[in-house]
């Protein structure tokens, strides 16, 4: 037994090339899987951490909840639920300090380095950083906002609002114990299954009467970014699409890994058939031979997977360094490398499974054969009657060498089949993952699309509007300006939950409005109902959850409501009616792109400035208020060539207003300046995606080279014999190249249709989601077709050069191992 193990080991050592090729196969698969694991875990963990810092770890915050409402949270599959009441927010230097009351259930969300969780409203718990900064110790009596508190605990980790020891936060949270006499508070919840979160939130919202419309809630802050990262979208189709894409990627990856490894082992066993035969003939039992194979799997597996793991770790680490360099200018924090143990376990298990399966099936086949069959290297060479026609064509095109190459291929079908599968695998990998990555890049690049303007300003209050709008639009640097007014009105109709429906009405300045009417082909002034949702369904017009047969049937009535008992609302009376609408999906020029709040909502009524005034004054009259009290927004969009200069000018004007800090600045957006940050972030994401693509290209290329080389290696003896009977090196080269060409073209024949199938499947996934687009990956098809031939030919030329140097007799004599 020992000597058989020794034989195995020595065989691996002696046949370095073969062993390296097999290890390379395992290595490639491991690198591919592990780096995907690293990239996925690292990206997700870091994004999660970002969201956690910015928005917290809860799935949703329900504001203004009373103790009597708490039963609405029962049986909602919660991971945790905590009541918090913010008592005060102050600034301490440049820090924002929030003092909040927290109930005992929050205890599990903190890790205390010292002391206890606060129980009374006179006790507080602070972060370790703040304790150090303030030099507050446990049991100290401190004063906050003229109130005296006792420090009872110091935490070094918080899940609810991000805190980790060593993190110098710009926000500090101080928590006091719960005072049960408090009448309303916020409820922070996290669900056990993020994918169910939207369902439960909706359920609770209905119970709390906080649901206004589909996905629209009053006083519920949903942590959408966190949920997205946890694989849950408000739009369940998106969740599905995400999983489908993940599934397809994983499928391609595992498919490719499996074939790379399988191929390596199959070739390795084919080469060793004779040796196996000899061992069998001198009495090695099947069991013993299998033991030797296990040893081989172990050695190759450990080396291949081990190297693969560390190599991918290295690759990802270098990638992170570059990424950090890239994002440094926009103040991105350190990126932490992470790797989910589940991923690690799954990858290892999958690789091991593949290894065993790949090694055992050719081994079993070889061991089943009679020893003499193995010794004689019997191959199932099936001689079919050759088609005279194709022979003639080949002879004409490629000459005698072509015939030789063609016959060689026909008769060594099995060997070539493996090579073919291997080449197709490379093709499918490149095209499949290439498609996914381009699609993702496209998606990301959409964020960078510039709108038709450079600066936007939203002014929510009347007092600052008229004056500022004039001043700003009249600035010298302004090339063009569009001004919108926006207000919400209540309709006579109610939605399915019994709430009155809202409609956003918008007006543009006359110039822009006329331009828009012209774009729509309207001759006279008309109210335009912009309906992005679905303009027409089955010949009917759908709007505000209603169906209309004709445009003329649509009319809106604007009404006033009174607040009654139990959140009930009753119509008080109506003050305005719009008829004769024009329904369209087309947006005004500037609306067609970008930022969410500049966009008209799905259903918006665009009217002239005159009509807009009319509506608002009718409302004011009816509700007996001054027109100035009508709440509405003004939006200004400016087009300029000198955004920096204009930026300064607007800020100077703005500063004259007392509301500059509170209102003007937060609603001011200089796109060119903001875009720089977005641009850098997109660059960062693209870097990751293209990094993955590079890795894929590397794997595919190495796989092709590996395949061609092994094929050559297997034929070395045959070629030496051919040469010994007088085939010149030149002719030999020609023959080999023709063979390569045949093989390459044949791989197109199989690889292209399969890839096409995968691409169409991906297409259906990407087109599922709303506004999905799909770009046919022509470039990947072309590159893979060309690259396969090119790499194969180059490898062949190189290997022929090496064979040229070989001693013919040595090669013939050397028994095939």
């Amino acid at each position: 037994m020992k000597s058989l193990y020794k034989t195995t080991l020595q065989l691996l050592l002696k046949n370095k090339k073969r062993t390296m090729a097999t290890i390379l196969g395992v290595l490639l698969s491991s690198v591919l899987l592990f780096s995907m694991g690293f990239i996925f875990s690292t990206t997700r963990d870091n994004s999660l951490c970002d969201v956690w810092k910015e928005k917290g770890y809860q799935h949703a915050i329900f504001e203004n909840i009373q103790e009597s409402d708490m039963d609405q949270f029962e049986e909602k599959n919660l991971s945790w639920i905590v009541k918090i009441k913010d008592l005060s927010v102050t600034t301490d230097g440049w820090k924002k300090v929030t003092l909040s009351m927290i109930d005992q259930k929050g205890k599990s969300l903190f890790r205390l380095s010292e002391g206890t969780f606060p129980k009374k409203e006179t006790e507080i718990m602070i972060s370790s950083h703040y304790a150090e900064e303030k030099n507050w110790k446990r049991n100290d009596q401190v004063t906050i906002q003229n109130q005296s508190y006792q420090v009872v605990g110091i935490y070094n980790e918080s899940k609810i609002r991000y805190y980790q020891e060593g993190w110098d936060a710009s926000q500090e949270s101080i928590y006091t114990g719960w005072d049960s006499s408090v009448d309303s508070f916020d409820v922070y919840v996290r669900y056990k299954k993020p994918t169910h979160a939207f369902f439960y939130i909706d359920d609770t919202a209905v119970g709390l009467k906080k649901k206004i419309d589909v996905h629209v809630y009053d006083g519920i802050r949903i942590n959408e970014n966190l949920l997205k990262l946890e694989g849950s979208f408000a739009d369940s189709k998106k969740t599905m699409a995400l999983y489908e894409i993940l599934f397809v990627s994983l499928f391609i990856l595992s498919f490719v890994s499996y074939f790379i490894i399988y191929n390596s082992f199959l070739l390795s066993f084919q080469e060793r058939k004779k040796l196996i035969g000899i061992l069998q003939s001198i009495g090695a039992s099947k069991k013993q031979l299998f033991h030797a194979v296990y040893l081989e799997i172990a050695i190759i597996g450990i080396i291949g997977m081990g190297l693969g793991f560390f190599l991918s770790l290295g690759i990802v680490k270098v990638g992170i360094l570059f990424e950090q360099e890239l994002l440094e200018s926009i103040g991105y924090r350190d990126i932490q490398l992470s790797f989910y143990p589940q991923f690690m376990f799954l990858s290892f298990a999958f690789l091991l499974f593949t290894l065993i399966l790949s090694a055992l099936s050719p081994a079993r086949r070889a061991f089943k054969a009679r020893p003499i069959e193995n010794i004689r290297l019997n191959q199932e060479v099936k001689l079919k009657k050759e088609k005279g026609k194709s022979n003639k064509i080949i002879k004409k095109v490629f000459g005698e060498e072509g015939i030789l190459a063609y016959k060689n291929m026909k008769r060594n079908k099995k060997k070539y089949r493996m090579a073919l599968i291997s080449l197709c695998t490379s093709m499918i990998l490149w095209i499949g993952l290439g498609t996914i990555i381009t699609q993702l890049v496209d998606e990301v690049e959409k964020l960078e699309e510039t709108p038709g303007y450079n600066i936007s300003l939203l002014l929510p209050y009347e007092p600052i509007q008229s004056n500022l709008v004039k001043k700003v639009t009249n600035l010298e640097e302004v090339k063009d300006a569009i001004v919108y007014s926006t207000a919400n009105v209540t309709l006579q109709t109610t939605n399915e939950s019994g709430y009155p429906q809202f409609l956003t009405i918008k007006s543009m300045d006359d110039k822009s409005y006329n331009a828009y009417l012209k774009k729509l082909g309207l001759k006279e002034e008309k109210a335009v109902f912009v309906n992005l949702e679905a303009k027409r369904k089955e010949d009917q017009i759908v709007g505000l959850q209603k169906k209309f047969d004709k445009e003329e049937d649509i009319h809106f009535e604007f009404c006033s409501y009174t607040h009654g008992e139990n959140h009930q609302q009753k119509i008080q009376g109506c003050y305005y009616e719009v008829n004769n609408l024009y329904v369209t999906e087309e947006l005004p020029e500037i609306e067609e792109s970008w930022s969410d709040w500049t966009k008209v909502s799905k259903e918006t009524l665009l009217v002239s400035e005159r009509q807009y005034r009319e509506i608002l004054s009718a409302k004011a009259t009816y509700e007996d208020k001054a027109e100035e009290e009508m709440y509405y927004n003004k939006e200004i969009y400016l087009i300029t060539d000198g955004y920096k200069k204009l930026d300064n000018e607007i800020k100077t004007i703005g500063k004259e207003s007392s509301l500059y800090e509170e209102v003007i600045l937060p609603n001011y957006l200089n796109i060119n300046m903001t875009l720089y940050n977005t641009h850098m972030l997109i660059l960062g994401i693209k870097f990751i995606l293209y990094g993955v693509l590079g890795l894929v290209a590397l794997t595919a290329t190495t796989n092709i080279i590996n395949t061609v080389n092994t094929n050559r290696e297997l034929q070395r003896r045959e070629f030496a014999i051919l040469r010994s009977v007088g085939l010149s090196i030149k002719k030999f080269k020609k023959m080999t190249l023709i063979e390569t060409l045949f093989l390459g073209l044949k791989s197109w024949l199989w690889g292209l249709p399969i890839s096409l199938g995968i691409v169409f499947f991906l297409r259906s996934i990407f087109l599922q989601s709303e506004k999905g687009t799909f770009r046919f990956p022509t470039i990947y098809f072309l590159t893979s077709m060309i690259a396969i031939l090119l790499i194969m030919i180059l490898t062949t030329i190189y290997s022929v050069k090496k064979i040229k140097k070989e001693n013919i007799i040595e090669t013939i004599r050397n028994d095939n191992i």
Binding site: T7, S281, G283
Partner: protein, 232 residues
């Protein structure tokens, strides 16, 4: 005592129109300690017969008893044991393991069976075959004759019931061939080793005590050489 008994042995290769009957209903026995040469035209089924007796090829029908054991009924593991312990096969191409040196190649069958090596016997064989000083070399570093002697030593070391040689000298020049034959003959005389040898060379066949002639998968001649003393 008969060590080989063959009854109705038939071997058919291939299927349908490609069918070849390599052995056609053979019946014969071989006594223990005999030295049999099998001769016949190319393609007459000599190698096939030897391979079946050696347990490296399967039979289509019939029965073969070796040392009173019906090898047609043996299972995989038993067959491996049979190959390890009962037979020694020598091929025209020496079929040594290229990564093992001479010594390791010779002892491989025994170590596969987990048996200890009889060092005295090992020395005796290797000196008898004149390969003591070539044992540390890899097969590629040995001449054809030396490789073949290593293969013979490998076959002899496990003291097999029968030694099977398929054109064991086909690859060697006449001096080397005669030398190998001499070793075979001596092992037959010295150790009482039963030998079945396939050869093309009538001259070499004369070393044997009995010559079986085959044609088209059938035995057409079986003669015992009375006085087989031959002077080299």
């Amino acid at each position: 005592m008969e060590i080989v008994k063959v009854e109705g042995l038939t071997k058919i290769y291939g299927k349908g129109s490609n069918q070849v009957t390599a052995l056609n209903d053979l019946h014969f026995t071989i006594e223990k300690g005999d030295f049999v040469a099998i001769v016949g035209a190319s393609g007459s089924g000599k190698s096939t017969l030897l391979h079946i007796i050696g347990g490296v090829d399967s039979m289509t029908s019939g029965k073969v008893w070796i040392d009173n054991q019906d090898i047609s009924t043996l299972k995989e593991e038993e067959l491996a044991k049979y190959r390890r312990e009962k037979v020694g096969l020598i091929y025209q191409f020496y079929n040594l393991i290229p990564v093992l040196n001479g010594r390791e190649n010779i002892t491989l069958p025994l170590s596969l069976g987990g048996q200890t090596i009889d060092e005295d016997f090992f020395k005796e064989i290797t000196s008898f075959l004149k390969i003591e000083d070539r044992l540390d070399h890899l097969p590629t570093e040995l001449s054809g004759g030396e490789q073949q002697r290593i293969a013979i030593a490998r076959a002899l070391l496990s003291k097999p019931a029968i030694l099977l040689a398929d054109e064991a000298t086909g690859n060697l020049d006449s001096t080397a061939s005669l030398e190998i034959l001499e070793y075979l003959k001596r092992s037959n005389e010295q150790y009482g080793q039963t030998i079945i040898m396939v050869t093309h060379d009538n001259q070499l066949a004369k070393y044997a005590k009995r010559i079986i002639t085959m044609k088209d998968g059938k035995i057409i001649g079986d003669e015992r050489i009375q006085n087989h003393e031959i002077v080299i």
